[in-house]
């Protein structure tokens, strides 16, 4: 009898062990389990307009076809979040210039974040810090953060890596992208490198109305759009026109229409810099005068990127331009360009017509070819 119980007990233990093993990820595979898959990396040439600068690519993360495709898949895969409901693309939708139409993004637990989702268009050129406060130095570093942010994906990287290692497709994709020998080599660093490679291909098509104008098709603008352009870039003198300076290009200049610098752009009237609800850049530098400063976003595709500002306070471009026309509040660290908005206009003030022209010009920055580019869409659809 005693012998029978012992046999039953041992049998149960064995059965349970087998069942348990069945559900366990295969995280400790045989060494070299992926080596049978060919590793033949093909360089990826980033497609960009000829008048755009070369895209910066870090030496330790060269662009390859397979790594870009892996990054694209990871970017759109909700596997990265704790409950597999949220991917990077949940807050960065291609049709909205890789923003999410929300004032502030909402994480998997329904908790609202502090800031609005930033556009990813031409993010490869942002080499002066990422996020609104610039806390991340590179795309590779940035890609690591949302996974473990408790108000975003609320996951852990060990958990994500465990899922990736046990996934039917990802180990082979990591092998093809990075030449790993076995799935044990899958790491958060490689996942972040792949996502960063995908983000580096999010480059303007160069076909917006603005781009066509800059390339010499000067008849493409109507009179209002041209006025807006001339005020934005302060080039009315070229046409002998008497238009005010809107001072936009000082912060939103260059081919990407952002200098990726940090400014207090006159949103809040505060008695002291300590009174800002969100201290912005200060949280990174610790410099008192950086309180209330935020990174300048690109204005390319701005019409698709509403709402606006770090906290999404403005719903429309009209609201946005109206606010700038007020020239700030005289707060100590406000950008000195703000009071000069409207310079050369009667009373140095932008008229309703001027504001309308600026909004019309901002619409010429829309790049529908980019947002419809099949190479950057969700591969799971």
């Amino acid at each position: 009898m005693k012998n029978l119980f012992s046999k039953i007990f041992i049998g149960l233990v064995l059965a349970l062990s087998i069942l348990a093993c069945k559900d366990m990820p295969n995280n400790n595979p045989d060494p070299g389990d992926l080596e049978y898959i060919p590793y033949n990396p093909q360089p990826y040439t980033i497609v960009k307009p000829s008048f755009f600068p070369n895209v910066p690519v870090p030496a330790d993360n060269p662009m390859t076809m397979d790594a870009v495709q892996l990054g694209r898949r990871l970017f759109y895969d909700p596997l990265l979040s704790a409950d597999s409901t949220m991917s990077c693309s949940s807050c960065h939708l291609p049709q909205h210039n890789f923003t999410d139409l929300k004032a502030v993004s909402i994480g998997i637990d329904g908790i609202a974040g502090r800031r609005s989702s930033m556009a990813l268009l031409n993010i490869a050129y942002a080499t002066n810090g990422l996020f609104w406060d610039g806390r991340s130095p590179s795309l590779e570093d940035q890609a690591l953060r949302p996974v473990e942010d408790p108000i975003e994906m609320h996951n852990t990287w060990p958990q994500v890596i465990s899922k990736l290692k046990d996934h039917p497709a990802y180990p082979a994709l990591f092998r093809k992208a990075f030449g790993i020998k076995d799935r044990a080599e899958i790491s958060k660093e490689l996942a972040a490198k792949a996502i960063a490679q995908f983000e580096r291909i999010l480059i303007s098509s160069g076909t917006s109305k603005f781009d066509q104008f800059k390339q010499g098709n000067i008849d493409i603008f109507d009179d209002e759009e041209l006025d807006g352009f001339l005020m934005y870039f302060e080039e009315a003198w070229q046409y002998g026109l008497n238009l005010p300076d809107a001072q936009c290009f000082h912060c939103h200049g260059g081919i990407t229409l952002t200098g990726n610098n940090y400014f207090n752009n006159g949103l809040d009237s505060v008695a002291s810099l300590d009174d800002f609800t969100d201290l912005g850049r200060f949280e990174v530098t610790g410099n008192h005068s950086d309180k209330g400063k935020f990174r300048t976003p690109t204005l390319r595709n701005i019409a698709l990127s509403a709402p606006y500002m770090h906290d999404g306070r403005f719903q429309t471009l009209e609201e946005l331009v109206e606010n700038y026309s007020k020239k700030g509040f005289g707060v100590a660290n406000e950008d000195p360009n703000l009071p000069l908005i409207g310079l050369n206009a009667p009373n140095n003030t932008l008229s309703e017509a001027h504001k309308k022209a600026l909004v019309k010009f901002l619409h010429t920055l829309t790049d529908t070819v980019f947002v419809k580019n099949p190479d950057i869409q969700n591969p799971f659809q």
Partner: protein, 255 residues
């Protein structure tokens, strides 16, 4: 014997280091430290400085400049170019303090010896200013999109931004926005001073004093209340020319 003595004397002359201004084949690292001041004091962003005879409060928020063809001048008039272009940002975005930055740049393989001066081009020299950011690799100083003004087809050579309290009543009512650019305002200046370049020797400091950039040749102060910004019309560079001219007085070189 006389011949031997003569040959020996020639040999001694040939190998004697003291008789050579530039030691053949020897090179050294040479560092230039760039510093910014106001009235001799290290520049601090957002700090109120008394300006002009009335002592109105004046503060700065940005000071950056391009420098071209920085060259060490030799006694024979020839020169050794340290760099073709440099971008010096005294108020970088990533600073943890409002105290101005003091970027120190080390130039490699500089021929050792005694030099008689330094030459600096203020701004971007015309041959480079004819190009644009897309013409340069990403890490090149001239790849900075935000430092290029397409309307002028020119880099912004110098940015000086700040605010002033014109009424001296506690309100910074004047925004100062000086963005100087275009070939018309490019200047080259020379500084005569002995510069010793040897391994282990200190480098030099190039100092810019913003107060002197706003001080006219007759000693008066520039009227920043009337001329608080540079025109955006490249055919109207009056303010920019004044400031770029004053750069010479504002700069000192020390070793």
């Amino acid at each position: 014997m006389k011949k031997l003595t003569f040959v020996f004397a020639l040999f001694v002359l040939a190998v004697s280091p003291g008789c050579h201004e530039h030691d053949e084949g020897l090179t050294a690292d040479f560092t230039i430290t760039y510093k910014s001041h106001f009235d001799g004091e290290q520049l601090t962003k957002y700090k109120n400085y008394p300006y002009g005879l009335a002592g109105i409060p004046l503060q700065f928020t940005r000071f950056s400049t391009y420098l071209s063809d920085i060259e060490l001048i030799k006694a024979d008039g020839s020169s050794h170019r340290l760099t073709e272009i440099e971008y010096i940002d005294f108020t970088p975005e990533n600073a943890s303090t409002d105290l101005s930055a003091t970027p120190a740049i080390t130039y490699k393989n500089v021929p050792e010896g005694e030099y008689t001066g330094l030459r600096i081009g203020y701004g971007v020299k015309p041959s480079l200013n004819a190009k644009g950011p897309a013409d340069f690799d990403n890490n090149h100083p001239l790849a900075k999109e935000i430092e290029y003004w397409s309307g002028w087809n020119s880099y912004i050579f110098t940015k000086i931004e700040g605010k002033a309290d014109s009424e001296n009543n506690g309100s910074l009512d004047i925004s100062l926005l000086y963005h100087c650019g275009s070939d018309a305002v490019y200047k080259v200046f020379e500084f005569d001073l002995p510069i010793h370049v040897h391994t282990g020797e200190p480098g030099i400091a190039v100092n810019f004093d913003l107060e002197k950039i706003f001080t006219m040749d007759d000693g008066s102060y520039y009227d920043i209340v009337t001329n608080f910004y540079t025109s955006n019309n490249p055919n109207d560079v009056v303010v920019a020319q004044v400031l770029m001219h004053n750069f010479e007085k504002a700069a000192t070189v020390t070793q």
